[in-house]
Amino acid sequence: MAKVGVYVCHCGSNIAGVIDVSAVRDFAESLPDVVIARKDLFMCSDSGQEMVKQDVRDGLVDRVVVAACTPRTHEPIFRAAIEKAGLNKYLFEMANIRDQASWVHGNDHEGATEKAKLVVASAVGKARHLQPLHDKFVDVTNAALVIGAGIGGISAALELANMGHKTYLVEKEPSIGGIMAQLDKTFPTNDCSACILTPMMVQAFNHPNIETLAYSEVADVDGYIGNFNVKVRQKQTYIDWKKCTGCGDCADKCPSKTPDLFNGSLSDRRAAYIMFPQAVPKKAVVDIEHCLNCAGRTIGTQPKINEKTGKAILAPCERACRAGAIDRSLPLDPGGTIKEIKVGSIVVTTGYQVMDKGWFKEMAPASPNVITALQLERLISATGPTGGKLLRPSDNEKPHTMTFVSCVGSRDVNFHTHCSRFCCMYMIKQARLLKEKYPDLVINMHFIDVRSAGKGYDEYYTGAREMGINFFKGKVGGLEILPGDQLRVLAYDMEAGQSIEYSSDLVILATAVELPPDATALAQKLGLQFCGNDFFRELHPKLGPVETAVAGLFIAGCCQGPKDIPDTVSQAKGAAAAAAVPLAQGRVKIEATISEIDSQKCSGCGICEPLCPYHAISMRDYTDRARGVIERHAVIEMSSCKGCGVCTSACPSAAIKLHGYEDEQIYAQIAALTA
């Protein structure tokens, strides 16, 4: 017979302010198998835990019920306590009389006390039938995967690699570096972006523990914490990277032009191209969608022969390549190649995109002189299309008056309700850089309000005012195209209570930060969830900011929510530390409260298999030698099972047992609640 001890917690006034704790204790004492019932001001305090431990050590109790708060936060504490006292930790049950009684029935003290009694009775009913359970452990693959090699991914990969873990760094573009590589300078110190980023790119690429997989995408993921199997699709480069020296001769000779996305489409690049001058790895690829197949050199075909010379007629890129890295006769697979890797944990740092101006019909998107802030970065960057000279796109003339428009698509229920967080600061940065370089340039900045939270940020903003940059509170309502590619700005000065109208040469839109469209497919492969439609969801907004609902899968940077470079690097290093935990431990614990299939009862119907949200169930054939037949059974991969109980309740043969939630335990709870 079980010896149940019940411990009722006051939780200060959280519980005792509503519930008559003494009455609940007295009631508990009257329940069957209860040998001891005590109460304490704070059961989770040292003295409270010690009370429980002493009763266990004295052999008075062999099942423990604590009537207190939520098991989500406190069950692990009491389980650890009884385990320390020598009792199996699964011989513990929590009665949540705070969330389920005192908090929700604060105006009905008597009713709350009666409900608390029922909740305790139910827990005791279950506790009488609890059985000892044992955690299991599985070994871990000592390697990590970082998806997305912007500044966040590079930071996370370096952190993991420096801790000694093999790290795969996957990047979809031909070069690592992400959006930070497109920036001119960075606030609030005006550090040159490339100057601080490029050394980190090189460091990551050359790190002995980092294997960089550029121009690659995650194709498929299965497995679980400690043992993920990942298929990475290395996209077809059409240029042999083992031979390519990054000289750029192929790009010089390639006749096909297409907008250069790295330059915000403000200039063209060739179909054969190197992403940008400081690219890492510095390798060329052929963008086959825009390739003209010069000289009829479709990939995988033999060249025509010049009848006079007898030589093969090659495409310009092939002829230009002195390293012999381009051979269009090879039957290269447009799908690229699949590389299979095994990792113990995964960090997702896939970043963001800014909204296109085309969404905003009131902002004259048809005008070439209305550009996004990211395009302006390229326009003022020394490696950009104008070599760093501020020239407006329509006529390559230097603008005299320019306008910054904040919150375009952010803080807007028609697009994104979130604040994109770093636009205020980068706009101020761009304005300051331009005002320093061109003191005569008139810069008008229009804000709903200036958000400059960060170390040194507000000083950076107020400094901009003193530089003679004009700030107006009030969102720009619209732009109109005037003759001469000018723009009429329709604005309002809320502080003066005056409408403003003026003609501007160049208008910069701070368009909203959002997830790129391919984020959805990645989320489906990984099991990531979304916060509304906006960003990947973390496990807990405060206490689990880098963890996700999937164990062993972590997120950092702008894919989790808009944040600037310092915040991205901080979060990425945090995610790397969290991702290193299972790798450092070498094995991961499998909770004992998971489901198990009784193969004697399993009919092999397969109902459970598609129901499992964690893909933990598979059907397998077994040979029953005694009977000489092949039988089909469901099998649960214990490391993937989360103990949700869906299969248990669906099984028509009652063949699946969920440990810790067995039938007789649950029936005992129901009986207690309905007594």
Partner: protein, 167 residues
């Protein structure tokens, strides 16, 4: 409203030259106006609102506005300003601009004349009241001291005030 950078630059130059050095530090938080007795008394263009107009280059447009003369020089705005603008200095700088353009409010002219003649900006004859409470009729101030008055007139005649030709 038209945003004219030349006017903005000119306005800021004039205000700074007249002592309102901190004008560009203003972030329009409104603390100065919240504490200003002149704003409470109903003067519409004091502290924040005046600074905003000046930052928009509206100098001449406000030349006849008499709000600035409602400033009592209590300097509470300077105490509460979180950005070190010293709003009262800006208001006074604007007043100096107005004075230089002979754009006094009538109330201001009277007090200037009082100051020139008696050494007190606000002066009422105290004799009757003082006799009732048993005090000497004349106060020991410039009001009844010809030599002191002469000194004050000399100072004012030789100050920028004198150049305005008011006296």
């Amino acid at each position: 409203m038209i945003i004219d950078q030349n006017k903005i630059d000119e306005t800021i130059k004039i205000i700074k030259a007249n002592g309102g050095h901190g004008i560009q530090k203003c972030v329009q938080c409104g603390a100065c106006s919240a504490i200003c007795p002149g704003v409470k008394a109903g003067f519409p263009l004091l502290c924040r609102a005046l600074i905003k107009d000046l930052l928009n280059g509206l100098l001449e447009e406000n030349i006849e506005n008499s709000s600035s003369w409602g400033c009592q020089a209590c300097n509470r705005c300077t105490e509460v300003c979180p950005q070190g603008v010293r709003p009262q200095e800006v208001v006074f700088a604007f007043r100096r601009y107005q004075a230089n353009e002979l754009a006094f409010s009538t109330s201001a002219v009277t007090s200037q004349m009082n100051l020139y003649e008696t050494g007190h900006a606000v002066f009422t004859d105290p004799k009757e009241a003082r006799r009732k409470v048993g005090l000497p009729e004349e106060t020991p101030t410039s009001a009844f001291n010809e030599a002191a008055q002469q000194e004050i007139r000399t100072l004012m005649d030789n100050s920028p005030m004198g150049e305005l030709g008011l006296f």
